[in-house]
């Protein structure tokens, strides 16, 4: 039944152009944590929901930074959107990822969805559908480390780490130590897409 190859396959002959190094990435996450705290009045009644794989890692990092800055404990959940995607039949079947509801649920709370890269917006649309099944949040906002443009749906992020203009044939990779063994954001071009 083989799952689709994950986008973290070896890079092969592709060229890799660095956009953020480890320090810049850490500062970006710090800034996003501050912005979320500011916009949510100290993360009052707020939960972070990460979209696997790297969105979930980022959500945990943001929560850790928010705890370090203001001593708040923001619940973190993980939401796999695969079963809600509208493009399942365009590709080989995908392996599912983890889903964990945040402690206390999401109903009547402010949900901040967290993902690594915002591109077509289809993952976010799937996430909104999946969220609806978990409960009725007071509001949903979106935090992404990288916005690379090329939206196919009317979706925009509330918190953006970095806006990066890209060509559609390029790929933006967010590498996080917990998953990839290093911290960086890179653009890949010329490799297999």
């Amino acid at each position: 039944m083989g799952a689709a190859p994950d986008s973290s396959d070896p890079l092969g002959s592709a060229t890799r152009r660095p956009l953020l190094d480890a320090d810049a990435l850490a500062r970006t996450v710090d800034r996003m944590a501050h912005q979320i705290l500011e916009k949510t009045a100290g993360a009052h009644n707020t939960v972070l929901i990460g979209i696997p794989t790297r969105g979930a890692t980022l959500a945990r990092r943001l929560a850790a930074r928010m705890r370090a800055f203001e001593g708040v404990d923001v619940p973190v959940g993980i939401l796999d959107t695969t079963l809600y995607r509208d493009d399942l039949r365009l590709r080989a079947v995908r392996a599912l990822e983890e889903t964990t509801e945040p402690p206390g649920g999401i109903t009547d709370r402010l949900v901040v969805l967290v993902d690594d890269v915002l591109y077509s917006g289809r993952t976010v649309r799937a996430a909104l559908d999946a969220l609806r099944e978990l409960g009725r949040p007071r509001a949903v906002q979106l935090a992404v480390l990288v916005d690379r443009g090329h939206r196919e749906l009317p979706i925009r992020a509330d918190f953006v780490g970095k806006n990066i203009p890209t060509a559609p044939e390029e790929q933006v990779r967010v590498l996080l130590a917990e998953v990839d063994g290093e911290n960086a954001v890179v653009i890949i071009s010329g490799g297999p897409s």
């Binding site: 689709a4 079963l83 590709r91 079947v93 599912l96 889903t99 509801e101």
Partner: protein
């Protein structure tokens, strides 16, 4: 993968993917009020049941519905089959109606394999004669992994009517793929010819194999498939091969007792064993739903695969 006809179709990677997917399905629906996913919207699943079944039929039907597929359940009674329509003609009818998957149970071993040659959609074997029942083996493996944390090196003792049991055959195939050590225990008359070639140990003495088992799987005595007398009397069978409270006490502390259902209480399994904390019989049913959702998702959830 296009069809699921035999537990032998699954290598270790594919089998593990099914089990992992089932666990994620569980997590995706845990604690939900509305247990529904939009994943297979617009796809049609036909349940084609030529043989009586309660839990498997309902389980597949519910699994398909939870994934938002359109489900048609078709049992031989009350259909054109009772007017003498052949499997092939029924298959062509389903084909014409555009079934994306056919879940088939049939009293003849090999019927799902034939069906797979006639229809364009995916075929899932939901039990064929005394041959195989791969989703049962998957849900059993899922239950073992959930209860005991692993399958590799697990000692599984399968007891009873191995001869007529598609559950035993599929379990032996899948469990050996996943690295478990299987022992089958049965009276010599209820072991199939060629069991020596199976990747199992064979024993005729239940009491001897109980203390070292991590899992004891009791099989139903399938009287409806027995045309001759395979053992002197039910009481005699029960005394030698039934699991009662005294025998259960011989099991290791952590060992679990499984049964694919439906049970003959008092025959192969005593009521106090079936209802004990070691028994996973009710869990097996709910795990069956998750595993069948996983199978349907993996067969139908991506781009169409060539046969």
């Amino acid at each position: 993968m296009k069809h699921l006809l035999s537990a032998a179709d699954l290598d270790r990677e594919a089998a593990t993917l099914v089990l992992d997917t089932a666990a994620q399905m569980d997590a995706a629906l845990a604690g939900r009020e509305v247990k529904k996913l939009p994943t297979l919207r617009g796809r049609t699943v036909v349940n084609l049941f030529y043989e009586d079944s309660t839990r498997t039929r309902i389980s597949f039907e519910l699994a398909a519905k939870r994934l938002s597929a359109d489900v048609i359940t078709f049992s031989a009674k009350g259909s054109s089959v009772s007017k003498g329509e052949s499997l092939k003609d029924t298959a062509l009818t389903l084909e014409a109606m555009g079934a994306d998957a056919v879940v088939v149970r049939h009293s003849m071993s090999g019927a799902p394999h034939r069906l797979a040659q006639w229809v364009r959609g995916s075929v899932v074997n939901a039990g064929d004669g005394t041959h195989e029942h791969p989703t049962q083996a998957l849900l059993d493996a899922f239950t073992m992994r959930a209860r005991l944390g692993r399958l590799e090196g697990l000692r599984v003792t399968i007891v009873g009517d191995v001869l007529h049991s598609r559950v035993a055959r599929s379990n032996v195939l899948l469990l050996s793929t996943l690295g478990a050590e299987v022992t089958v225990v049965a009276p010599p008359t209820l072991l199939p010819v060629g069991v020596d070639a199976w990747p199992v140990e064979v024993s005729f003495d239940l009491d001897q194999s109980l203390p070292k088992a991590d899992v004891v799987m009791m099989l139903r005595v399938q009287r409806e498939r027995m045309s001759a007398s395979y053992f002197p009397s039910p009481r005699e069978y029960s005394r030698r091969y039934g699991l009662d409270a005294t025998r259960m006490a011989m099991l290791a502390e952590h060992a679990i007792v499984m049964h694919p259902g439906p049970m003959n209480r008092g025959m192969e399994i005593a009521a106090e064993v079936a209802d004990s904390v070691r028994s996973t019989i009710v869990e097996q049913v709910s795990n069956g739903l998750s595993v069948r959702m996983a199978v349907l998702y993996l067969l139908l959830g991506g781009a169409e695969v060539a046969a």
